[in-house]
């Protein structure tokens, strides 16, 4: 039988039962490879359930440094009978299916084109451990040990990792190492090791780190000077506030008094959460909330208030598959339109699109500067894939001495000196006006913040001209905003070309990889990664300079494409869509396949996953 052969380049998928402690063992596996100098990209595919349903963990290993989903599974490791039929069917021809053969494999599942390897995990556990909880936990560690032998991993890296992981709980170190050895020995003695697919130490990660985007965002909020966090729990955003709290506890407790230099309020719902952020920001603190699509829907009215009354507001949207409750534990980039034009009336909201944990950190901190400088909501758009998975990322950095940009705030001294204050008066010509914090001066600078129309001095008015003047100023401010938000990144093709791709956020890595595949076939494409909305003139020129631009995104309705068409008044022919919306991160093979189909002249519908799978695996 054919055996897939490769060194440091494969996709492995673990099939587990939710709530059985498999996550930490799977993490250990990915981290060990990372410590061997190999770029890894682990992705948790989990159900909306606390215990019992199937859950998967897919790890991409690529010495070449491709971190997106490739598509296809080379090795499946199945310890969940519930999903076994699906798991084995997904394996690439010539791939490997590793399962717990304490019970024999259902003959109907056997595939002749897949290498089937049995490791009697349950039996080993039952022989070794009496306590059922131990049996369950160590079963996971045992298969990691077995994989170490099957893939020829450096065993010492694993044992060091265990020692690091259980620092402070030393009693757990030896039993874990023992479990690793049990699996390792069994595989070595009973299976032909290593498999055709194996690893060897490399030097391909440099100073990179392995971190989830939500933790990076929480840290960004700490470094960005947030003091007030208000939130309502929702997957996949919850861990942003968890991380903020974890680090705030570490660095924001006043050593003298033991009191907190931060306040975290778990609100009664998202309306309240964003209301608190607006109230705190209005009062001169840096504040944020984190949520996902359903929360954004609820926050919509307040986002309009913050836009119109020009109150700095920081919102982190960790997107998941909608509409409605959708697939709450699956990823998508499908809140683009609902955030870009969030709220009734003529509104436009600033969006940031990070694509790595480092950018989550950088943009997370920068969001507070932008919000205060631009006096408007800043909505940072990440997603479940970036937020909840460990992503390989450049290390986090902070320039010591960097100061916060608190924007245009008129001080008591300025007011005292007689500087004229008009809350909505554009004195500098950039359409951004001065604000005052409450309690600044005993008799000057007070104003009434409202969502109703008002004149330049913040006095209520229903005069059409004044309303219109203000709305036009907000449009001029929109132009100012373009100069402040992160600009796009361009990767030019090796050869001059008039076709291009445009993507954002977590579609970056798979797109990059797909373009490499295409280039090998002689299809060269320039690439642009958009990092913010409003789009600046560079985005416009890039599109104009190409005959055809493929917009790659993870939603059904081609939302970024719609936004580009609306903002630049483009016709429908210029931009073509490459979409994935099945809840899994878009894969390189899927992107390549769709672009190929377009270029072959087919007007294609967004591809269903199974069609892509037939065409090469997904």
């Amino acid at each position: 039988m054919k055996k897939l052969e490769s060194v440091n380049d494969f996709v492995i998928k673990f099939a587990n039962v939710n709530g059985t402690g498999s996550a930490s063992a799977n993490n250990m596996f990915a981290k060990a490879l990372f410590r061997m100098g190999l770029p890894v990209s682990p992705k948790n595919i989990f159900p909306s359930n606390i215990q019992g349903l199937p859950t998967w963990y897919e790890v991409r290993v690529s010495e070449a440094g491709y971190l997106g989903r490739r598509g296809g599974i080379d090795i499946a490791l199945s310890v969940n009978p519930q999903s076994m039929a699906q798991d084995i069917s997904e394996v690439e021809p010539g791939g490997y299916f590793i399962y717990d053969n304490t019970k024999p494999l259902d003959l109907r599942l056997v595939r002749n084109d897949v290498n089937i390897i049995g490791i009697p995990l349950t039996r080993i556990c039952n022989e070794e451990y009496k306590d059922p909880r131990q049996r369950q936990l160590f079963k996971n560690v045992i298969y990691v040990g077995a994989l170490a032998a099957l893939l020829d991993m450096d065993f010492k890296v694993l044992t060091d990792l265990v020692a690091d992981q259980f620092k402070g709980k030393e009693k757990l170190i030896l039993p874990n190492i023992h479990a690793l050895e049990l699996g390792h020995q069994y595989a070595r003695n009973n299976v032909d090791c290593p498999l055709g697919i194996r690893v060897q130490a490399a030097d391909a990660v440099g100073d990179k780190i392995l971190l989830d985007g939500n933790t990076a965002l929480g840290l960004g909020a700490v470094y960005g000077g947030a003091t007030v966090a208000a939130w309502y729990p929702i997957t996949p955003s919850t861990s942003v506030v968890d991380a903020f709290e974890k680090y705030a506890r570490r660095v924001r407790i006043d050593p003298g008094t033991g009191r907190k230099n931060y306040a975290i309020v778990q609100a009664e719902d998202e309306l309240s959460a964003i209301g608190m952020v607006i109230g705190a920001s209005w009062n001169g603190a840096r504040a944020f909330t984190a949520t996902s699509g359903p929360g954004v829907s609820l926050m919509s009215e307040f986002l309009g208030l913050a836009y119109f009354a020009e109150i700095p507001t920081v919102l982190f949207d960790v997107q998941r598959a909608g509409p409605s409750t959708g697939m709450p534990t699956r990823t998508q980039q499908s809140d683009i339109l609902s955030t870009a034009y969030a709220s009734h009336g003529d509104t436009k909201q600033v969006l940031l699109f990070p694509s790595t944990p480092k950018e989550c950190f950088d943009f997370g901190a920068q969001a507070f500067d932008l919000a205060e400088r631009l006096q408007t909501p800043i909505i940072l758009m990440t997603d479940l894939d970036l937020g909840m998975n460990d992503n390989m990322s450049p290390p986090l950095e902070w320039e010591d001495g960097r100061e916060y940009d608190r924007g245009k705030v008129m001080t008591a001294e300025q007011l005292e000196a007689g500087v004229e204050f008009g809350r909505y008066t554009d004195v500098d010509g950039d359409a951004i006006c001065y604000r005052t914090y409450p309690a600044t001066h005993p008799s000057k600078g007070a104003f009434f913040t409202r969502g109703t129309s008002r004149d330049e001095k913040a006095v209520y008015t229903e005069k059409g001209e004044e309303y219109e003047e203000n709305m036009l100023r907000l449009m001029r401010k929109w132009d100012t905003i373009k100069e402040y938000v992160p600009g796009p990144e361009v990767v030019s093709a090796a050869q001059k070309t008039d076709i291009a791709v445009l993507y954002f956020g977590t579609s970056e890595e798979s797109s990059r990889e797909a373009l490499d595949y295409l280039a090998k076939e002689g299809v060269h494409m320039d690439a642009m990664r958009v990092r913010a909305f409003p789009f600046n003139h560079e985005v416009k020129s890039f599109i104009e300079e190409h005959e055809q631009v493929f917009v790659i995104e993870q939603n059904r309705d081609a939302q970024l494409r719609t936004l580009l068409m609306a903002e630049f008044e483009l016709g429908p022919d210029k931009l073509k869509s490459v979409l994935c919306f099945d809840g899994t991160p878009i894969s390189a093979r899927n992107i390549k396949k769709q672009i190929n189909l377009h270029l072959d002249g087919g007007e294609i519908q967004p591809l269903h996953r199974s069609r892509v799978a037939n065409a090469g695996g997904e």
């Binding site: 306040a263 109230g279 916060y404």
Partner: protein, 350 residues
């Protein structure tokens, strides 16, 4: 439109300890209907703040949407104000109070704003015992949308349209008590003698202070048959007792009968005197307060005055143990941990 009140005043108007006259606490000229109860409440707020000698700029006034929520434009013109969205004033105040614990937060709302669209936020701000004064201008109807019944309209009460309300009424004082509010009073816009000291006491209270003020809507709900009309309230108000507010280190001048009185020292050193109390109400006991409210509800009259107060209330900042320094005064030097910590974090992620 808002018009500024002309600042010309008689030179010997009484000034407070800060040298301010009452005019320094006023706002723009009201655009509410002539005779609207809300304007009287605005007047009471002006008087209370003036008499307490609070620096106007140290007050933040916030509201939702409604005629009542417009009222903050008509008082405290030197204070920052925030007219937010319908029913959501409590969350905005909560955020503001988190940012700066040193200001006095005065929330103004209507019965629609509080008891319907804002019921959730109202319940939760009470539960968190946020240090604020929450005044409901309660007219039993939605004034600004032309008089529909609100959730505080009594069952059977008839508004101008002529239909009797078929639903039972939400009692905001009872709700607040259940939710954990630590100061609860009810009053009537037409009774300044009672309202002003209640506002002062509420301001001195540390924690969530609700004053539910019946405030007739002359345009839509002041007709015979309405239980929120001037006439009905005058006839049916039953005061728990009289409240006298004594600022810090002031002599008590009011004479009152011993044996019927309570004196409460507030955290800022001022004191509240309650006297001629309704015999079986102990306003420091939740159960007693609940029973009194229920008794009066059954009797069909309106219990006014101080209903409940927790003398040992701990507000949200106390329980959260936030810094005594307002969070909005902290700078990068206090807040940003610096690059070395990131280096350590990076190292732990390899």
């Amino acid at each position: 439109m808002s018009y500024q009140i002309p600042k010309f005043r008689h030179p010997d108007l009484p000034v407070n300890e800060l040298g301010y006259t009452r005019a320094d606490y006023e706002g723009s000229i009201s655009t509410l209907c002539a005779g609207c109860g809300h304007d009287s409440i605005s007047g009471a707020i002006v008087r209370a703040c003036h008499e307490l000698s609070i620096e106007p700029h140290k007050i933040a006034k916030l509201s939702g949407i409604g005629c009542s929520s417009k009222a903050p434009t008509y008082f405290l013109g030197k204070s920052h104000g925030f007219n937010s969205v319908h029913g959501r004033m409590p969350s905005v105040v909560t955020g503001a109070a988190m940012a700066n614990r040193d200001l006095l937060y005065l929330g103004v709302s209507g019965d629609g704003d509080t008891a319907s669209i804002g019921m959730g936020q109202f319940a939760h701000v009470a539960r968190r015992n946020l240090n604020m004064v929450y005044i409901v201008m309660n007219n039993g109807c939605y004034g600004l949308t032309k008089g529909q019944d609100s959730a505080t309209a009594d069952e059977g009460s008839v508004s101008k349209k002529g239909d009797a309300n078929i639903y039972s009424a939400i009692d905001l004082c009872g709700t607040a008590l259940q939710m954990g509010a630590t100061f609860i009073a009810r009053s009537f816009s037409g009774d300044k003698a009672q309202l002003v000291p209640l506002i002062k006491a509420a301001i001195s209270h540390r924690g969530f202070a609700l004053i539910d003020v019946v405030s007739p809507c002359v345009t839509f709900n002041n007709n015979p048959g309405s239980t929120k009309s001037y006439e009905f309230v005058r006839d049916h108000a039953e005061a728990t007792g009289t409240v006298d507010f004594v600022p810090m280190q002031k002599e008590i001048t009011t004479e009152y009968e011993a044996g019927f009185s309570h004196e409460v020292t507030m955290h800022d050193g001022s004191s509240v005197h309650l006297y001629k109390m309704e015999e079986d109400l102990n306003p420091f006991d939740r159960t007693s307060a609940l029973i009194a409210m229920e008794k009066h509800r059954v009797a069909g009259d309106i219990l006014t005055g101080l209903i409940y107060m927790d003398k040992d209330s701990r507000d949200l900042h106390d329980v959260m143990e936030t810094s005594r320094r307002p969070l909005n005064t902290l700078g990068a030097e206090d807040l940003c941990p610096g690059n070395q910590m990131l280096k350590n974090i990076n190292a732990s992620l390899r």
